[in-house]
């Protein structure tokens, strides 16, 4: 029996945060993300050509190679690629967060209700989520964007309407497995009502699962959203969406390769950072890990 250490809460929290730094991969992910977030938040101050965002053309400076003045070169209409990429981060992060804000609370509540109440509540919610989950996310998003017309808003709406299903499904499973735990029974015996049990007893025990999923989802959402931008059915030029920028350079891969390369790399790093952090997040939230 390995002797147990007994820390208090604040010490415990600090210990856990420190533990996050033990894993080099997590640290790497956090570093990359930190850099990107800072760049995105302070974009107007950190980019030399912030005025170029939005409708702007300057054909005299088009197709310039990467140089000190233009670290990532310029694109086909003369915009500085570096600036576009940084503003592109803004869009990606914004979309990812909005989609989660719109889908997570809704999905969680429905999932917990389905798992806890069972009966027709469970059946209805399960069947609905079945339908949504059966369709690949991208296809579904394409359909919605097709109906509503291509724009960034429509991408967000489409993604939210798919994404809540994942959370409903996860919370359904978690709730079902936890609702017969002794501590839940203890709460019932104390006279706790259903709402209290669902949200004070069961939900807190799902936070680590949710945290991991949300972290990884951030990356996944960005991938889909920029994919749609690439296909031209999401954000459209001149919006500096990363996918859009990549698309604008595909015709010139052989010659002005920098137009597509740098936004692609940027996307890769962003998504990678979320994936790297995902694991570390799980450990952070798992109360019992010693």
């Amino acid at each position: 029996m390995i002797p147990r250490l007994q820390p208090e809460r604040s010490k415990e929290l600090r210990r856990q945060l420190r533990r996050l730094t033990y894993d080099p991969l997590t640290v790497l992910g956090l570093s990359i993300l930190a850099v990107i977030v800072v760049l995105a938040v302070f974009a107007p101050f950190l980019t030399p050509y912030a005025n170029q965002v939005g409708p702007y053309t300057d054909f005299s400076h088009a197709y310039l190679r990467p140089s000190l003045a233009h670290p990532f070169g310029t694109d086909n209409v003369g915009k500085d690629v570096y600036t576009q990429v940084i503003f592109g981060f803004r869009i990606s992060l914004f979309v990812a967060i909005i989609v989660l804000v719109g889908s997570v609370p809704f999905g969680v509540v429905l999932g917990v209700a389905a798992g806890y109440y069972g009966g027709w509540v469970e059946t209805i919610i399960q069947r609905v989520t079945d339908v949504f989950l059966a369709l690949p996310a991208l296809i579904f998003a394409l359909v919605i964007a097709g109906i509503l017309g291509p724009s960034l808003q429509d991408v967000i709406i489409a993604l939210i309407s798919i994404w809540w299903n994942w959370y409903a499904r996860i919370m359904y499973t978690v709730t079902k497995s936890l609702k017969n735990q002794p501590y839940v029974e203890a709460a019932r015996v104390q006279g706790a009502g259903s709402l209290r049990i669902m949200f004070r007893e069961i939900l807190p025990n799902a936070t680590s699962t949710l945290a991991v999923k949300m972290t990884l989802d951030l990356g996944f959402i960005i991938l889909i959203q920029s994919g749609m931008g690439f296909l031209g059915i999401g954000a459209r030029p001149p919006t500096p969406d990363l996918g859009v920028i990549v698309a604008s350079g595909t015709a010139y891969l052989g010659t002005a390769w920098w137009i597509s390369l740098f936004p692609s790399l940027a996307l890769s790093f962003l998504i990678l950072s979320f994936n790297l952090i995902g694991n570390g997040v799980r450990d952070l939230f798992d109360v019992k890990v010693v």
């Binding site: 029996m1 390995i2 002797p3 250490l5």
Partner: protein, 324 residues
């Protein structure tokens, strides 16, 4: 006659988050051939990890700082040399559900055990089946035809434990280590399993180490008992003598804590709880909770001394008493 198993001055630490935590301190114990020895202690006393050291089942974070573990003159701390000797020792665990693989039928698991113990080519199929049947019979698993075909979750607690004993018997061990073999069982089933283990020990001339926190079990089945606390052996000797006249205050307190069936003892209790500093102290590990502690107890570490023939204890107060 040399003892079958000798543990001498074992000091074991566990690496955890950068530091070495003491787990066993100066543990000494011997088991003779065909002897039943009880290793008694509460959670955290170190009894399970002592057994695991003998079997070589330590976690990677464990560090043996000093001491010897010898089984029939083989050094068990040396992985290579011990690998053959370990086949002559078997161990059964507390919770049969988690120690038997729930995915496989009983027959398959027993065949696997036989293969590992004797080598896959050593036995013919029919010989294997015969040995398995015999082991099940020895473990009092009647209706063994049916049992072989079942999955562990289909068996009752007592039956699962019997199957584990049967699997242990397949190795024809000279030493059986039973780690809390009856804790998860009903009291009547517990009695049957205990009787079974004792009978097997007698019949097969198998030494038995019974690890338990249930003093009643130790009292009724063993010839000698070791009492462990905070990773140390605090008292050991003939079981009957230890229970009739406990010398160490912890043993005394522990016995008093047990409710008596005929209400002949009023239930007392030991003050305080075991703490990490007790495990690490260079003084007496029990001094923080001992009602008899004197100044010496809090500054020096008492060593095990044989105060009466066959009875040893690590306690300054007991030493004083014996002198007068």
């Amino acid at each position: 006659m040399t003892a079958l198993l000798e543990v001498d001055g074992l000091n074991l630490k566990i690496r955890s988050e950068g530091s070495l935590l003491p787990v066993l301190h100066d543990v000494t114990l011997t088991v003779d051939r065909s002897e039943v020895v009880a290793l008694v202690g509460e959670t955290g006393s170190g009894k399970t990890i002592t057994a695991r050291t003998v079997m070589g089942l330590l976690p990677k974070s464990a560090v043996v700082e000093s001491g010897r573990v010898t089984f029939d003159s083989t050094n068990m701390l040396d992985g290579k040399k011990a690998s053959e000797a370990v086949k002559r020792i078997a161990m059964i665990f507390q919770n049969p559900m988690s120690s038997i693989n729930p995915l496989f039928k009983v027959s398959r698991q027993m065949e696997d055990v036989l293969t590992w113990a004797k080598g896959s080519r050593a036995l013919e199929n029919s010989e294997k089946k015969a040995q398995i049947r015999k082991a099940l019979e020895d473990a009092r698993c009647y209706d063994n035809g049916r049992i072989l075909d079942m999955y562990p979750f289909q068996l009752s607690g007592g039956m699962r434990q019997r199957v584990m004993i049967a699997m242990a018997l397949l190795r024809t061990p000279e030493l059986l280590i039973a780690d809390e073999p009856t804790t998860a069982l009903d009291v009547t089933t517990q009695r049957e399993i205990l009787n079974l283990l004792l009978e097997l020990s007698r019949r097969e001339r198998m030494s038995l180490i019974l690890i338990t926190h249930n003093l009643g079990i130790a009292h009724e089945s063993s010839a000698r008992t070791y009492v462990m606390y905070a990773g140390r052996v605090v008292e050991h000797g003939r079981t009957s003598e230890i229970f009739a006249n406990p010398m160490h205050p912890y043993t005394e307190g522990l016995i008093e804590s047990i409710p008596s069936l005929d209400r002949s003892r009023s239930m007392g209790s030991i003050q305080g709880e075991i703490s990490q500093s007790d495990r690490e102290t260079t003084a007496c590990c029990f001094s923080s909770r001992c009602p008899y502690a004197i100044a010496r107890c809090r500054s020096e570490e008492p060593k095990l001394k044989e105060l009466m023939p066959g009875q040893s204890v690590a306690c300054f107060v007991a030493e004083e008493k014996a002198r007068n």
